[in-house]
Symmetry: C2
Subunit: 306 residues, 2 copies
């Protein structure tokens, strides 16, 4: 793994909206601060952040608000990709200028069945145009959503062409064998599992940590597994966070995360999502609330941080 690689547990920070569906910057900063207080890094503008439902100008405005608010850039890995490389360059430059320790970069995801040559050319355009030695790119492999995979041969080419700059990957394939192949296949490459269900396996294989949706609402317990992966009871701790994730994943993930924060803070505006996503149904909301009560998941201190 690169000496300066990011590590640990990061959350693809969910994005709150006001009644006009504009990003609610104050509520967003409060959630970011609470996550940092739980040892959780900030993978803002991920899939669970509804990043591709945000205008580039909105992402940029939130990013600058985070820097201005003094959130620790060493714990920030903003998603900066657009299918249009000039927009990716713009957002990546802004992230690097603010000191973000890394950026998380989807492949361009409109055209399907594109070649590795084309994806290599895309990442090359961005890296060369940003042209900054401080840049650290974490690739984002999420074939179930993007439908454009990042293959092992592509990683090899990128590492060879941009050593030190291409720093790692988030693997949201849900395929542990693929994650393992990424960990053992490359030196100087920090691999994050896309779900805490694979966190202990990832740490044992030599990975960097995880970037997981449910870290938005269960960060302390997930960090506990990360910090104590060599402890005697690590498997038990892992089983507990996996079990909680499964309980949340019974609901549509993004609305469920936002509803959980709404229930925990009393700020019900958190339930809003941008289309094409839809809020939880009343029945799902009641069921989620009951599940959370039964488990005693309190999002400790989250109400005060609101």
């Amino acid at each position: 793994m690169p000496a300066d690689a990011m590590r640990g547990v990061l959350s693809p920070v969910v994005t709150p909206f006001d009644a006009e569906l504009r990003p609610d910057t104050a509520a967003w900063l409060a959630h970011c601060r609470w996550l940092l207080s739980q040892e959780c890094g900030l993978a803002i503008f991920g899939t669970n952040s509804e990043a591709n439902s945000l205008a580039v100008a909105e992402r940029r405005s939130l990013l600058e608000a985070a820097f201005e608010a003094g959130l620790d850039p060493a714990r920030m890995m903003p998603g900066t990709a657009s299918s249009a490389f000039p927009e990716t360059v713009e957002l990546t430059k802004a992230a690097v200028a603010g000191g973000a320790a890394g950026v998380l970069m989807l492949p361009p995801f409109y055209y399907k069945n594109v070649s590795d040559d084309g994806l290599f050319a895309y990442y090359s355009e961005v890296i060369q145009r940003v042209g900054d030695a401080r840049l650290r790119v974490y690739l984002y492999h999420i074939p179930p959503v993007a439908q454009v995979p990042i293959s092992l041969p592509l990683i090899e080419r990128l590492l060879k062409a941009y050593p030190g700059t291409v720093a790692g990957i988030k693997d949201s394939s849900g395929d542990w064998e693929n994650t393992r192949a990424m960990i053992v296949g490359f030196d100087d490459f920090a691999v994050f599992a896309g779900s805490e269900a694979f966190l202990l396996d990832t740490m044992r294989a030599g990975g960097a940590g995880c970037i997981s949706a449910t870290a938005n609402i269960n960060p302390a317990a997930i960090h506990d597994v990360y910090a104590n992966w060599q402890a005697a009871d690590a498997d038990q701790r892992q089983a507990a966070i996996t079990d909680f994730r499964k309980s949340v994943a019974a609901f549509p993930m993004i609305p469920a995360l936002k509803a959980t924060i709404g229930l925990s803070t009393g700020e019900r505006g958190w339930e809003r999502v941008r289309p094409p996503l839809t809020p939880l149904s009343d029945a799902d909301l009641a069921s989620l609330s009951q599940m959370l009560d039964g488990r005693g998941i309190a999002m400790r201190g989250r109400r005060d941080a609101a």
Copy 2:
């Protein structure tokens, strides 16, 4: 079909780039003008235009250049969609302000398996926020690429909620039965086939025309089928344009279209594409050139329009 519906043959206008991969506005306007001279409408910013590889600011700048250049807005159907609805609203407002007769609107295409409720909410946000009686929305159904389909029930809901505004659809499913169902299933709805291979069938069933990639390089012959669909030899004319399309589709479509324009105009910069697309290989380019020579496809007058 709505009385003010667009009709005929439109081209998803390919977008030329300069050596820095910036849009080449002058070359683009020349191609638009030539297409209009061939009775071909301008579906700028479609899939074949690499629209999702263009920054929103670049699309807006080209759109305004087209209006300033005096291209006939009655023949323009710009693609204005982004997965982020504020960007769709921005581009759609600009198109309506310039007098574009319609806009072509992809669904938000990052999240997969979204509900019709979510897609209905997306289109509703855009239509209501644009809030202009002049707006005419043509939906864009292209499941092989967007992977997010526009279902018949969704069309029905949108037509009921926004009669007069939701004006039609481009069906790039490649499934004639689906196109036919869209034509016969709805009144006041203008259906364009996504390929000229279905043009005659579309006209016979009561559709509006076609919006097709190869209209970039073969517009006159395609328009000829549109204008003479009731002629005795219509099937023969259809067979000829279908056959030409198949010859082009043997190559990667977008690079082949751009290379054909490059060969016809002598402006080889037309061969450039933005990643993740890649230019034709030398072998493909030679093979394409030979095919075009053999068919005597001259893109009549295109060199002069360069």
